[in-house]
C-alpha cells in the first residue's frame, strides 16, 4: 500500500516538482544570490495569502465553478480587521473571528446566488468583486489602516525556523484541503459534481449544499488570507490583492486543475503557487524588468495549460 502510494505521488506530483527544481537550478546559475536560505524564507513568508486563496480556488474549480472575487473578499476581510483593531480598539483575538466571518459570508452569498438561481458563478463573483471592493473602501474610508505590531505576530518569522506562523497556517490549510478533497465524502462529491452534476443528482445526491459549501469555504479561506496579508503588511490596505484571483487561478491551472471541473489537487495547486513565486523572485533577482516579468509569467501559464491539454490528448 505504501509503496503504491509513493509511486502514485511520484506520478502525480513528479512532473511539477521537476519543473520547480529546474527553475531553481536555472536561477541559481543565472544569479549567485539566488540559492540562499534568505531567498526561500522570503518566498515562504510572501506566499501564505496566495496559497490560502489557491486552496479554496482549487475546490471551486473542481466543482466546475470559478471565483473572481477572492482578491476583493480578502481586502474586505482585511479592512474589517483593520477597522476593528484601529478604530474600535479591539484586540487581535476578538477581531479575527469577525474577519473570518466576513469572508465566509461573502462566499456564502456567491454560492447561494449562483447555485440557488442557476446563474454562472463567473457573473455572480464578478459582481462580488466590485461589491466587496467597494465595501472595503467604505469600511476603511479609502485609507490604509496602519495596525502595527499588534498584528505582526502572524507574519513575523519564528526564531530558528525562520518561517512565519502565517506560512505554517497556509501549509496546514494545504494538507487539510488535500485530505478533505481526496479522503472524505465531501471531496468525493465535489469531484463527482464537477464531472457530471446530473449523474450525481440521479444517483440520489443533493448537489446544491456541496457547491454552496465550497463557495463558503473559499470565502473563509480568503478571510484567513486577509489576516495573513494584514500581518505581513502591518496594515489593512483597501487596494490590497487586486488581481489576486488571476494568480490563484493560474496557480491551480499550472498545478493541473481543470477549468472544466472534476479534476484537481490541492497539493498541485500549492506547487503551482511555488512555481509562480519562484519565477517572480528569480526573475527579479536576475534583473528582469517588471514588463518582461509579466510576459514570462503569462507565457508559463499558457505553456502549463498547453502541456496539460497535450497530456490529456495523448495520454489516453
Amino acid at each position: 500500500m505504501s509503496s503504491k502510494s509513493i509511486q502514485g505521488m511520484l506520478v502525480q506530483y513528479g512532473g511539477l516538482c521537476l519543473v520547480l527544481v529546474i527553475m531553481v537550478g536555472v536561477f541559481s546559475l543565472l544569479s549567485e544570490n539566488f540559492l540562499q536560505r534568505a531567498t526561500f524564507t522570503s518566498i515562504a513568508n510572501q506566499i501564505p495569502d496566495l496559497t490560502l486563496v489557491a486552496v479554496g480556488m482549487t475546490f471551486i474549480l473542481v466543482v466546475g465553478g470559478i471565483d473572481l472575487s477572492v482578491g476583493s473578499i480578502l481586502a474586505l476581510s482585511s479592512a474589517v480587521l483593520g477597522a476593528l483593531m484601529v478604530d474600535a480598539g479591539w484586540p487581535l483575538w476578538a477581531a479575527i473571528p469577525v474577519c473570518l466571518l466576513t469572508g465566509a459570508l461573502c462566499g456564502l452569498f456567491n454560492g447561494s446566488v449562483s447555485i440557488g438561481f442557476r446563474i454562472p458563478s463567473f457573473i455572480v463573483t464578478l459582481g462580488m468583486l466590485e461589491i466587496a471592493r467597494g465595501a472595503t473602501k467604505v469600511v476603511t474610508d479609502s485609507q490604509t489602516k496602519y495596525i502595527g505590531s499588534k498584528v505582526e505576530v502572524m507574519g513575523d518569522p519564528l526564531p530558528y525556523l525562520q518561517l512565519s506562523p502565517a506560512f505554517l497556517l497556509a501549509l496546514a490549510a494545504v494538507l487539510v484541503g488535500q485530505f478533505l478533497l481526496s479522503r472524505t465524502v465531501f471531496g468525493r462529491y465535489c469531484i463527482a459534481i464537477g464531472t457530471n452534476e446530473e449523474a450525481v443528482r440521479m444517483s440520489g445526491i443533493r448537489t446544491a449544499p456541496y457547491s454552496i459549501a465550497v463557495f463558503t469555504l473559499s470565502g473563509l479561506l480568503c478571510g484567513l488570507a486577509g489576516i495573513a496579508q494584514t500581518s505581513r503588511l502591518s496594515s489593512a490596505d483597501p487596494n490590497a490583492a487586486i488581481g489576486l484571483e488571476l494568480s490563484a487561478i493560474a496557480a491551480c491551472v499550472i498545478g493541473g486543475t481543470s477549468l472544466m471541473g472534476g479534476r484537481g489537487s490541492v497539493v498541485s495547486s500549492f506547487i503551482g503557487v511555488l512555481i509562480i513565486s519562484v519565477l517572480q523572485t528569480g526573475l527579479a533577482q536576475v534583473g528582469v524588468s517588471d514588463a518582461n516579468k509579466q510576459i514570462i509569467t503569462g507565457s508559463v501559464i499558457v505553456v502549463a495549460v498547453l502541456a496539460d491539454a497535450l497530456r490529456n490528448r495523448f495520454g489516453k
Binding site: 479522503r183 472524505t184 469531484i191 464531472t195 443528482r201 440521479m202 444517483s203 440520489g204 445526491i205 443533493r206
Partner: protein, 512 residues
Amino acid sequence: MSACPASLLKTTGLTKKYGEALVLRDGSIEVQAGEVHALLGGNGAGKSTLVRIIAGLVHPTSGQMEVNGQAYQPKSKRDAESVGIEIVQQEFNLISTLSVAENLLLTRLPAMGGVIRQKGLHRQAREALDRLGLHEIPTDAIVETLGVGQQQMIEIAAALYRQCRLLILDEPTAALSHAESESLFSWLDKLRAEGVGIIYISHRLDEISRISDRISFLRDGMMIGTYQAAELTTDEMVELMTGDHPHHEPREQSCTVHDRTADYALRVDKLSGGMVDDVSLDVHQGERLGIAGLVGSGRTELLRLIFGADHASSGAIYLSDDPTPKRFSHPREAVAAGLAMVTEDRKKNGLLLPQSIRVNTTLAAMVKRFSQSGLIRFPAENEAAEQFCQSMEIRCTDIEQATGTLSGGNQQKVVIARWLATDASVFLFDEPTRGIDVPARKRIYQLMETLAAQGKGIVIVSSDLEELFETCDRIAVMSNGKLVKTLQGTDMTHDAIMQAAFSGYLQQEAQA
C-alpha cells in the same frame, strides 16, 4: 406502380452498421415526384437512419442511391440540398436567439459588404412564410419567444424556401396543434401538386392513411414492401409493421399466480406530470414489469416522475407495505426509500466518464456503505469495486480504469453495480441494453432474474420487444402519455403491443 412518372429518388440495398450493430439491413425505397410517401415501422426499424442517409447526414455502409436516374452520393447535408433534398427532423435546428427571418435565410443572408440588408431580409422571409400561410408570424420575432408548433412550421418553411424537390418530414406533427397540422396537410397537397416528392414519417396512422399516396414498411431494418395507402386499414398497417413474428413461448413465470398476491414492491397511483397523464401501475416483489411504447410516448418521463427526477403534478407512489402515499421531489428521497434507476443515456446522466470504476460504483451508496463520519473507507470501497468487477464480469484492466474507456456493455454494468451497492428494493431500468453486445445483454438479463429471485420489484422500459418478452412477467403499454394496456402470459404478443402503442394517437385524432 405501372405507368408512373420516372422516380425522383431510388435507393437500393442501403445498409448501415454502427460497430457490430446493423441498424439498417435493406433500405430500398422509390419515391416519385408529386407523391406523399409515408414510411412506417416500429421503434428501431430504421426509418430515421434511412431518411438521414438520403439527406446526407449519415453515410451508408453499402448500397446505391439515384436521384432522377443520376447516381447520388451525398457527402453532407449540403450535397443533398444541392440536388433539392431537404429534411425536417424531430429536433429543431433553429438558432433560438435569432429572428425568424435570420433563421429562414441563415445560409444566404442578403448582405452588402458583410452588412445584412434588413429590408431584403424581411421581404424574402415574409414571402417564405406567406407561401405556407403563416401570415401571423412576424419575421422579426425572436425564435425562442414562439411556441413549439410555430417553430416547427418555421423549420418547414426554411426547408421549403430552399426550393426543394424532395422533402423529408420526420414526425412533423408531434409538436403541432390540430389547426397547425391541418394547415400543414393542406400545404402538403399544394406541394404535391407542384410535383415535389415527400417522405413522411409519423406515429399517427390516421393522418398517414389520410394524406399519403403510398406507404413503405420497414421492419428490423428491412424494407418489407410498398403499398397503396388507400388499400390499407390502420389495423393492416400495424400488422405489416409487426409482421408474423414466431409466436414466442410464454416464459416460465417466475411469479406464480399465487405470488401475484404477494406484497407489492411499488404501486403507482394516478401519477401525472409533464406529458405523463394519469398513470397507475403496480409491481410485486419478485416481478419484472416491462413498459413498451413508441419513442416519445412518455415511458422515460414516467420513470423520471416515479424517481423524483421530474416534478409530478398529482398522484402518489406506495412502496412495499408502507401505506403512506409518497411523491418524491428529488432522487435523493427516492434512493433513501429504496429505489434505483438506471438511466437511458448512461453517458449523459449515468456515469462520471473520466472517473474510475471504483468511484462510479460507490457513488450512490457512499454515505450508507463506504464512509464513516464523513471519511471514505477505502478498503471497503476497493473491496466492493473488485467484487462487482468479478461478479458482473466487467472487462477492465483494474478498478482504477476510467469508465469512459470501457465498452458500452461494461459501462452499463458499472451503472448497475452502483445500484446493486445501494441494496435497493425497486429497480427502474430505462433501455438497459441499448447499444450493448449480446453477451453483455445476456449477463444483464441474468442479473435482472437474480434480482427478481431476491424479491426485488423491477420495471424495464425498452423499445426492443424481444427483450421485454425475454425478461418480463407482464408488459404495460404506454401511448401518448397514458398507460393504455397491461398484458400478461399468452396475451403478450407483438400485435397486441403494437396495437396498444398506436392506440393513444388514434384516439387523439378522433377527439380532435
